[in-house]
Symmetry: C2
Subunit: 331 residues, 2 copies
Amino acid sequence: MRLALVVGNTRTAEVEGISAAGASPELARHTPAADAELVAYGRPVRAPTVPTSPTGCPTPALLTRAVRELVGFDLLVVDAGLAAPTAAPTVGLGGAPAGDLRDAEPVVDAAAVFESAWELGARLPGEPLLVGESIPGGTTTALGVLRALGEQLGVSSSLPTNPLDLKRRVVREGLAASGIDEGDAAGSPLEAVRLMGDPVLAGAAGLAAGALDAGTEVTLAGGTQLVAVAALLRHAGVGDELPLATTRFVADDPSTDLDAAAADLGLDLTVTDPGFAGADHPALAGFDRGEAKEGVGLGGVLALAAREGVPMAAVRDRVEAVYAEVCGDGP
Amino acid sequence: MRLALVVGNTRTAEVEGISAAGASPELARHTPAADAELVAYGRPVRAPTVPTSPTGCPTPALLTRAVRELVGFDLLVVDAGLAAPTAAPTVGLGGAPAGDLRDAEPVVDAAAVFESAWELGARLPGEPLLVGESIPGGTTTALGVLRALGEQLGVSSSLPTNPLDLKRRVVREGLAASGIDEGDAAGSPLEAVRLMGDPVLAGAAGLAAGALDAGTEVTLAGGTQLVAVAALLRHAGVGDELPLATTRFVADDPSTDLDAAAADLGLDLTVTDPGFAGADHPALAGFDRGEAKEGVGLGGVLALAAREGVPMAAVRDRVEAVYAEVCGDGP
């Protein structure tokens, strides 16, 4: 099994109150780079700090790393447009960080990033592929792309209280700035990403499309951002089976209707509960409060762990060990 | 254990008859990129072909990959200045491919590459580090650096008959073009690389120096190019123990005197014989004819395999399996 972790940045994350993927906007810029380092090495290497939400809940990368230590999957970090350097080994797609969703054309290079990702996906050896993401602000750009495509699905949030009104307003402003109405990009997925998306959506969709074309088994590993990737694939005419593996935290989120998304887009849904209810460890408790929820391929690697017979208690223990390693011993 | 594979290009490889690291000069340009892909994925992904010498002997990368499949070490590909793209995940050092050794200043960015590699080495988690290389033409630039430093050690070759006269002539021309005499860069390792070296020497030396400074256990994994790295480290004032792990093919090469190098530079030598004598498989027989000899960390990973109790017969079987996978079934 190989986790392709597609990383990048969008200035949409700088909209106040829109994302929990970083303790501050400046640190959030480093979150995807730091997430990649955490999964690759078990701790930040070049990134300034461990990514946490403003309340201190650590990133899902810590959990994905814990599963990696237990199960040993391969890691392929794909740089679709990082704004901060990473010491994790990456394959670059030649993409740049995206502008704000409210710009006229936030992802000028969407088509080139998709194409480059497609080539990579098509050439990878045939090992089953999990496609995950890390991009602060990504649920908002996912919403933007869904609306541009005319899909009425909701998106989740890394915050316990989803700032849905804010996201909808940003998306409305983005559609206006791009001179399109909802649904105008139906059947034109690259147009949807170029005008309303982020580079990670282009990279993840391209990678999945290329891999599927080559006959590789692909699982979309994540929450509503991967639902947007699935929508892009469907609007690109991809007819293959599309499994989506996510966490209970996304499935339980009232802002989303995963079953509707699965029905609309023909997704085969796997939901894993890592059993953090009642946990008081800081690496786990935030998830139970509804923070973070998904990201960094978490749903996919949890499903992998479950399939390989790793008990969720072992995952939790390993998360605590990784946390101690990177954050110091005590909570 | 982590193999840091430092890759890059130098136009020195284009000197006719100087290198066997590629079936043709155009393909040799792709060799380091392809080597990285072979170790990362088990086959070329973006590179045009499996690297082979003009006689068809495949690259040591095939063997390093075989050991990786048996032992499972981590891989960190460090791009010190690649001239061709690779689909292997890499950490970039911001370096450019080097000019011809006979240019006045073939590695303009030697200091920046060293510094960037040093930072990376110093920040890596403390897992023991093997430092290997892939750069066609690299034994000639290694000779250039040794002479600039005033070290009278010899270098090996990827060709069965070492074109030593040619290498010495190129180095003489390089010294003249750079306006220095042998030994003028003694105590100034970055000057030696800038005027006579290649980006991989700068990257490997910087990575090793940074890792040693952070207390990480470092083994130089390779032949006479890693001897040049050791010389750079000694001229930089690095006093740590320096283990060098190489193959019997280098140790038996009459162009080199590894024992003298070990004595001069204070290296702790490990020589591993993978037992290819009499092998008729094309992936193995070339080594027994004196081709390739080393590269892509081979000596280091063979020593690792031996230490972990993997019989060399298992390594040979796995090499044949990897070969069949990438080159087709039959020899």
